[in-house]
């Protein structure tokens, strides 16, 4: 499975847009890019997933360039409650018992007032 590289931590202020970039140079043709969010003392929570170009939902946007070797999670107007660890994962299409997620170190986003 493709290895991912993310910044260990980022700081931001309330109301700012935050962009977290993930590198995945060895991404395979059938790999998808998924981001999870984990608050302290909770399990990870799915945020967004994409294969190419741009995906947007009510929480975030995901930008994927044409070569797919990186992706950027964009959080609009963050609040204090967005302080969490954000994980970027890449993995193949599919489901069932053979689909396993490999979590990297994640990016700790600290939002200040």
């Amino acid at each position: 499975l493709a290895k991912t590289t993310q910044p260990i931590s980022m700081d931001s202020y309330e109301g700012q847009e935050v962009n977290i970039t993930c590198s995945h140079n060895n991404i395979a043709t059938n790999d998808y890019i998924t981001w999870y969010q984990q608050f302290p003392s909770q399990g990870p929570r799915f945020i967004i997933q994409g294969y190419k170009t741009k995906v947007t939902n009510e929480v975030a946007s995901l930008f994927i360039p044409a070569d797919r070797k990186s992706s950027t999670l964009s959080l609009p107007r963050v609040s204090l409650s967005d302080t969490a660890v954000y994980y970027c994962l890449v993995g193949p299409r599919g489901g069932g018992a053979t689909n396993k997620l490999i979590f990297g170190t994640g990016t700790l986003l600290a939002v200040q007032p």
Binding site: T34, P44, F46, Q49, Y51, Y87, A97, N99, F103, T105
Partner: protein, 120 residues
Amino acid sequence: DTAVSQTPKYLVTQMGNDKSIKCEQNLGHDTMYWYKQDSKKFLKIMFSYNNKELIINETVPNRFSPKSPDKAHLNLHINSLELGDSAVYFCASGTKSTEARGWGSQETQYFGPGTRLLVL
């Protein structure tokens, strides 16, 4: 309505004991998982299971065994607990994401709140 629930939330026990952690999901998913998150916050998969097969991460000691009485439950049994087993254990269940529609999709996993195990 809790989608994925685990019990107990905290578990403190002595070395050598045998313990179980229970997991239930009410999402109707076919696949369930167990993950371990250590003190350095690395989250690693231990098992994935559906009604067809059990996939075991080769690094998991055979003291750990998943038991699934039915599709909605995947319990984790741990024998002869060791100090290094202290961690947070997360249960998850999976389904395909609808967000990548058009190109197929990868499975989205829903995690439980975690069980904090401390072995003394």
